[in-house]
């Protein structure tokens, strides 16, 4: 097959932009699943909640969606802490994490989706902002602003979270809890409190990721499901706990999906993430940069 060079180049660039956005979507699960060992499969529901928060506030007051995403993070942080409390009392404390815990998050995912359907209906919703529409042209490469801005800001977010985890006291405690909760207890820190904060952060990222998602494309409640495969593929491929690995995996998935969509049609793209996930699980479960 003769591949035209500028088509391929554009596909790769679009993939990198998409990958940057995927990093914002996956960072929360990298924290909750990778570091805390909580398989929060309801993450997409919280991301959609972020989308609809952006939609409502943008529609009422015309605030910029990215600003909304950043401003609503404290609310999502609190929500995350509440969900973790519930999860802790119902499952972690009893030591029944496996099936019941998964069923709990699955129920949350479903309840979230159906509630959004009941409130907003199944129509596609979108936000308005000046940068949705125009593109920057660099020679033969086209950079749509609605992809570029989420990508840039999501890299900033990943940087901030990484800095927080590696420099601040609580951040280091979160990394410690992911390695050995028992030892943390011996250092007179409560693993439960640290995990609660970490889970709060993982849900807080959904506010921003949701705002990005609704900038990139119109949103309806059931699209969240498409992201489960992507999020967990990225998380596993990136090696579960490693932020650089997560970033690398996001870019990889973005590029592969974008090339698939360009050359085989967008209807095949959803299968890519799963294929990647299955291959990773079968061949190298430790991921790209796993320990």
């Amino acid at each position: 097959m003769l591949v035209s060079f500028d088509l391929l180049l554009n596909a790769v660039v679009a993939g990198i932009l998409l990958g940057g956005f995927y990093a914002a979507v996956s960072i929360g699960v990298t924290i909750s699943f990778g570091m805390l060992d909580i398989a929060n499969i309801s993450q997409p529901a919280f991301i959609l909640l972020g989308c609809y928060a952006a939609y409502v506030i943008n529609g009422t007051w015309g605030v910029d969606p990215i600003v909304i995403g950043v401003v609503t993070t404290p609310l999502f942080f609190l929500l995350g802490m509440v969900v973790y409390r519930l999860y802790y009392y119902a499952f972690e404390r009893r030591g029944e994490q496996a099936i019941q815990g998964l069923a709990f998050f699955f129920g949350l995912l479903f309840v979230g989706e159906v509630s959004l359907v009941l409130v907003f209906g199944v129509d596609y919703r979108f936000v308005e902002a000046r940068y949705i529409g125009p593109s920057i042209h660099l020679g033969i490469v086209e950079l749509p602003l609605r992809m570029l801005l989420p990508c840039v800001f999501s890299l900033v977010m990943v940087g901030v979270v990484q800095l927080y985890l590696s420099r601040s006291f609580i951040g280091r405690a979160i990394l410690a809890v992911s390695q050995d909760p028992g030892a943390l207890q011996l250092m007179a820190a409560s693993p439960t409190r640290i995990k609660q904060i970490a889970f709060g952060i993982s849900i807080a990222t959904c506010a921003v990721a949701g705002a990005f998602l609704i900038i990139i494309q119109p949103v309806e409640p059931s699209i969240g499901r498409d992201y489960i495969g992507r999020i967990f593929a990225i998380c596993v491929l990136g090696g579960m706990t490693s932020m650089p690995g997560m970033l690398l995996a996001s870019m990889l998935l973005g590029i592969v999906e974008s090339i698939t969509a360009t050359f085989y049609g967008p209807s095949w793209a959803p299968a890519v993430a799963f294929g990647l996930l299955l291959i990773t699980l079968a061949v190298r479960p430790a991921g790209l940069l796993g320990r």
């Binding site: 398989a39 479903f110 359907v117 489960i228 209807s267 959803p270 299968a271």
Partner: protein, 328 residues
């Protein structure tokens, strides 16, 4: 009272037969058969789910994929005679529904074996996530497959006359009762067997089971394949039930949610749990769909699932057992 295995089979076959004959003799309202079919379908799905979820301790969120694979296998077999006639000029009799059910079971069973082989060697969480994503992929494949209508869907015309007398919906109803009887029988047989004991040991402590010589991977693979096959068999009559098959409705998340919620609410430790759960939830949903709205009744299922998992993790059966113990 201890009921032996063969006696149990005789009993449930008798119950199934009496159920079908009695409803055929007394009920003429077609709606009963349409609604009853769905409840029976959920008995099969949740019992199948429980073989892997309840007995073995591996969560499958991909019921929709296995179910739809059965349905689409049937759709392909339905179209096959016409295609053969058109392209090769070969005349072939229409494929009877029972053959489609077996074929659907085979396809979904193999699918279960494949996914299981790739992911079951890892921790259970990975299997659960893989099945969740699996649904999206199988759906993508179907959406891109023009022979079965792609995303537009496909119209299926029911055969003009149904075997066993009566209308076609009565025939579907009877077949689904048979499937429900078979899957409940299989579940209970497994429960009381050495194989079931092995599965339970995997659920309680996989490492210890492996160390005691339980062939864990092989047992997990068998139960995944069996569970998938039963789901596929439940899906095979779907094209004739809805007469219009499309990816969005056949891969509906409701199948996955219900087949998790019903065993959890009924109780996952024994065969009766999923049956109680599906009769209860299935009936509530049928009533709610008619009287309230279908979106709201799915919300009810989700909320019930969360409530039971948090408050009564052993389901209704567990509640009854606890209550009995307190009485004694």
């Amino acid at each position: 009272m201890r009921v032996s295995n063969s006696l149990f089979w005789v009993l449930i076959v008798a119950v199934g037969t009496v159920f079908v004959v009695a409803s055929r003799l007394t009920i003429t309202n077609e709606y009963f058969y349409f609604a009853g079919y769905v409840v029976l379908e959920y008995i099969v799905l949740s019992t199948a789910w429980n073989i892997l979820g309840g007995y073995t301790g591996y969560t499958n969120f991909g019921t929709g994929a296995f179910f739809a694979a059965g349905a689409y296998s049937a759709a392909v077999l339905h179209k096959l005679p016409a295609t053969l006639h058109k392209t090769f000029d070969i005349t072939m009799a229409p494929v009877p529904l029972p053959v489609m059910i077996v074929a659907g079971g085979l396809v979904s069973g193999l699918m279960g074996l494949g996914t299981g082989y790739l992911t079951l060697r890892l921790r259970g969480v990975f299997f659960a996530i893989a099945t969740l994503a699996f649904t999206i992929v199988v759906q993508t494949l179907i959406v891109n497959w023009d022979y079965v209508g792609g995303s537009r869907g496909i119209y299926i015309i029911r055969p003009a006359n149904a075997p066993l007398g009566g209308g076609y919906i009565q025939y579907l109803f009877s077949l689904m009762t048979l499937l429900a009887v078979v899957s409940v029988g299989i579940a209970r047989t497994i429960e009381r067997s050495r194989f079931g004991l092995g599965l339970n040991s995997i659920r309680d402590d996989e490492l210890a089971a492996e160390a005691s010589g339980v062939p864990t991977l092989r047992m997990k693979l068998i139960s995944t394949a069996l569970s998938g096959a039963l789901m596929g068999m439940a899906g095979a009559p779907l094209p004739y039930y809805v007469t219009y098959l499309d990816p969005a409705s056949s891969f509906n998340l409701a199948y996955a949610v219900n087949s998790v919620a019903m065993p959890v609410i009924g109780g996952m430790q024994s065969w009766i749990g999923p049956v109680i759960g599906s009769i209860l939830l299935g009936t509530i949903q049928q009533l709610a769909t008619v009287t309230i709205s279908s979106a709201l009744n799915l919300l009810i299922v989700g909320v019930l699932l969360i409530l039971f998992v948090v408050i009564a993790p052993n389901g209704i059966v567990g509640l009854v057992q606890a209550w009995r113990r307190r009485e004694a």
